[in-house]
Structures are given as C-alpha cells and as structure tokens.
Symmetry: C2
Subunit: 304 residues, 2 copies
C-alpha cells in the first residue's frame, strides 16, 4: 500500500506524540517536527507507510539518544498481557470453536499499538477483548484460514507489538507451535516486538522465533535478512499481524492472512471497512506487484 496524502499529517502528529512520550525537551520536539516535515516534503509517496515510519523513528531515536525509547512501555504491556494470559486460555478452552476464538483474541491483542494511539489504556485492551469475541468476522475467510492452517507444513507468523505477542501465543497454541516460525523485528521501533519481548514473555521456550533483521514498523522484504526472506518465500501460510504488516505486504503475492484492527481511516478505506473493524483478510494471491488498481490485492472471498 502506498503512502496516501492523508497519511502525512497523521505521521507528523504521530511523530510529535512519539517524541513527547520520550522527552519533555521542546527543542527536541521541534527538531523532530522540522526534520519530519522536511523529509516528508521530499518523500517518495510510492513507498509504504512503514518505510516512512522507519525513517521517522530512526530520526526520533537518534535525536533523543534513546536506542529503545519504548522499552519500559513494552515491558509494561508484556507484563499486563501475561497477567491476562490465563483468562485468554480459559476463554479459548471454554469456546465451541477454539481456533476461531484464538483468531479473534489474536486480533484483539492488536489494539496494543502505540504507533497509532499514544494514549492506550489497559482498560481499552479488556474492552477490546469483550468486543472482538462478539463482532462479526468474515466466516468464509475463517473457513479458508482453517483449511490452509490444517494442511500447511510451514507457517510464518509475523508478530506486531509487545504485549500483543502473548495474544499471538494463544493462536499459536491452537495451530501447534511445531510448524511455526514466529518473526519479530530486528531492532526497536515504537512498541513493536523484538527478541527481548519474546524472551520476556517466555515465547522463545515455546515456538521457534526468528528476527526479520530490520527495524521498520512492518515487513519491508528487501530490508530483511536473507534467512528471513527464505522463510517468507518457503512458508505455505503467512499470518501477518497489524496495520504495519498489512501496509507493507498488501501487494506481495503470497498466501497471507492479515489479522488486524483497522485503526486509521486510510487503512479502513483501503480495506473497504469502518475504522475500528476487526479484520481477517486473505491476500488475493492472483495479485502481481505493480498492477495499478490498488485494491485488487484485497478481496474478501478469493480462495486459492
């Protein structure tokens, strides 16, 4: 997905939100603001939003001199999610369709996204769980997902955020961890999960974790390691969590299921849904990169 004009004012607001979370020094806020304005004024808008986000957050880390400014926040979300974990397990155990429930919970976890909303409250997460268990989900896609998941020999699971990864564990437990590689970011960016987060939440003892080798808030294949790209290419099924992965992979011709909360109007418009929608989408894998109709890649009911 390209960067839309409307993404730009939003990115600028987000940059301000982000740097304010890290430091109270207004001169640094101003430096970030001016530099982001300068960068975006010249930016190639054909690049995906995570590519722009990567540059912005590198800049913020550089100017604030913090390698991992959201470390404490990620820790908090990991701890919070671990506290919720027994409850999540119970919800799945008591469910008539445990895989569907686990998919729903994995999407609910995607509310933990500081990239979009800097003021997320723990309460929002609890509320989102309740909602996501009840909302309508495209069942024809879930049926496809279930079928693909039952036959896939290798599954690549692209993580999104710290905390959220505990919700992902719930889904991985249903799928069986043996066939799964769980991919995290190669370096800190916003509250995206890195190796530290999977270790902190004990996921490394449970599923094979790999790093994608890059610090974009999404998956920009050409920046990822060769090892990651090999996993990506060889996987029978890819589960991609969150907006950043959707933005960066919506035009990649692979067997991808996107699980996310649509948190911004541009994404919602691109997906053809309302802001706040619980999204389970399948990549239209007849899509070839470069074809002009941007929405061609995203149909609800295309099966392989």
């Amino acid at each position: 997905m390209r960067t839309y004009f409307d993404c730009i004012p939003c990115m600028i607001r987000q940059s301000l939100d982000a740097v304010r979370l890290i430091t109270e020094d207004e001169s640094i806020h101003e430096q970030v603001l001016r530099e982001v304005l300068r960068m975006t004024s010249m930016a190639d808008l054909h690049q995906t939003p995570p590519e722009m986000g990567q540059k912005i957050h590198r800049l913020i880390r550089q100017l604030t001199e913090f390698d991992d400014p959201y470390r404490e926040m990620k820790k908090r979300f990991n701890t919070f999610a671990l506290i919720l974990y027994p409850k999540l397990k119970r919800i799945v155990a008591e469910s008539l369709e445990p895989l569907e429930t686990a998919v729903r919970l994995a999407i609910a976890g995607n509310i933990i996204d500081l990239g979009v909303k800097s003021s997320l409250k723990m309460l929002d997460v609890d509320k989102t769980i309740e909602e996501v268990l009840k909302v309508e989900l495209d069942m024809s896609i879930f049926v496809d997902f279930k079928k693909e998941a039952s036959t896939a020999k290798s599954i690549l699971y692209l993580a999104d955020n710290a905390g959220e990864i505990v919700f992902d564990r719930i889904l991985i437990e249903q799928l069986g961890p043996e066939r799964i590689k769980f991919a995290v970011k190669g370096g800190p960016v916003i509250n995206d999960a890195t190796m530290e987060d999977v270790e902190e939440t004990g996921l490394t003892d449970f599923v094979r974790v790999i790093s994608n080798g890059d610090d974009a808030p999404g998956t920009i294949l050409r920046f990822c390691t060769e090892e990651f790209r090999r996993c990506f290419n060889e996987a029978d099924l890819i589960i991609a969590k969150g907006q950043g992965n959707y933005e960066s992979l919506s035009e990649v011709d692979k067997n991808i299921f996107f699980l996310l909360k649509a948190k911004c109007p541009v994404i919602a418009n691109h997906l053809g849904c309302e802001v706040g929608t619980t999204v389970l989408r399948r990549q239209n894998n007849t899509y070839s990169e470069g074809i002009t109709n941007e929405n061609k890649g995203i149909f609800n009911k295309v099966s392989k």
Copy 2:
C-alpha cells in the same frame, strides 16, 4: 499567539482539505502538500497561525489558478444567512436582554468557518444558534462589554467570515451603526468576508465598511493599510470575531473583546476552555507585547 507544534499537522490537513474543495487534480493536491510541508519545515513558529495561513492560501490560490476559490461557497453562506436574518431579528426582538442575545448570535455565526472544518452543513448553523442562546456566557465580561459599548465613541468591528457577517449585522443593529466601522479582508482568503460579501449581503448600505487591505485569515497589523491601522489605533472599542482574529491579536495591547467559537484544541487550551465553547473574552490591556507568559494576555475578569 504563536504557532504551536500541534498547529502544524492540523495546517497540513487543512491545506489538503482546502485544495480538494477547489480541484480534483491530485497532482495539484500533491504540489500543495509538498510545498506546505517544505514551508512549515522552515517556518518561524513565533509568527501567528494566520501568518502561516496567509502563505498557505496564497500558495493554494496560485497553484490552483483561482483568485477566489471559495467565491461560490461564500455566496451560498451569504444567501443562507440572509434567509435566516428575519429569524435572527425576531429572536433578538423577543429577548429580554437584546444586546446579550445579539452577542450570542454573533458568536453563533462564527460556526461558518471553512478554515477549520471544510464539511460544514447548513444544519450545523441552525443547531449552533439553538445552543449558543442557551450556553453559559461569562456575564462579568458581558457587563464590561455593555458598559464599554455604551460609552465608546468609535467602535471597530473586525469581521471574520462570509455568511457570519449577517449575524454581525444583528449585533451592529443593537450597538447602533453610526459609531461603527466594519472591517473586512482586503483580498480573498478561505471564506473570510471581503468587500464583495458585504455588498452581496447589503451591509454596505447600513454600516461604514472598510477594508484592512490584507489577505491573511486574521488581522496582522503590520500588513494592513495605514488607514486601517489608524482606525484600529483610534477606536475606543474593538470587537474581534473568530479564531483568526484572536490568534493574530491576542497579544496586542488594545481594548479588544473577542467573540468566537473555540473550534480547535490549541485555541481552546490557550483560552483555558473546552473545544466548542462559546467565547466572549476581553483582552487584558495591561499586556505588553513580547512578554513571555503567553497566557498573560487573556484573563476573564480584568477590567480597564
């Protein structure tokens, strides 16, 4: 009032809204977006938002090759307000405190502001009238206003938007038009009222109208004509309508009453009120320009 960091993403969004109202040509949208980003990246943030807005809207007019892109929209709002005029007159006539009611209606008219909200509906105006007649107004300031208005020999009334000027007429009728000079913008900017609008709505036959000679969406004294500045300096009382006039005059040491709807979080914060508040404020005229504490200029209960 200086331009706050949070004004910048909002200005960029507004620029996009503005150019989209004028043309569907996306290449022009992109040109405007990039140029506004470039301009703001280097902007002097000590200048007031209307100074930035002036540059942005000159750019939009230049790139779209429209001298007065909002002409049709302004005409529509003028016509709409003229249709409402008998109703507004009746409301005042039936009121126990006609001056207070006229002040309230003049503020209600300030909802007609395409600078902040491009999607204003006629219905919103009707709803705002009902609301503004009922909301709490700072009565100590109204008492001051009434007293000042009764003794002032010369009143300068700074108009804001087309359509809104018909609401201003209601207040001018209560004050008596003889002592009043009604000032409009010297050239088109957004939907701000110009000489064409006062002629279209018949105000020129009723009150003495002057142009400020400038096309900023506010009143930037050093850009205005000498004649206007003389009127400004000599006036016993200045009535300044709308956000743009507040932003550009909040630190000018004169006997100014600001009448506006607080339509954005930055202004609301600067005024110490909620977004949407019906504001009647008096300039603290012990203020001297250049003093650091920005809020020093704006106290509710300071009298001369």
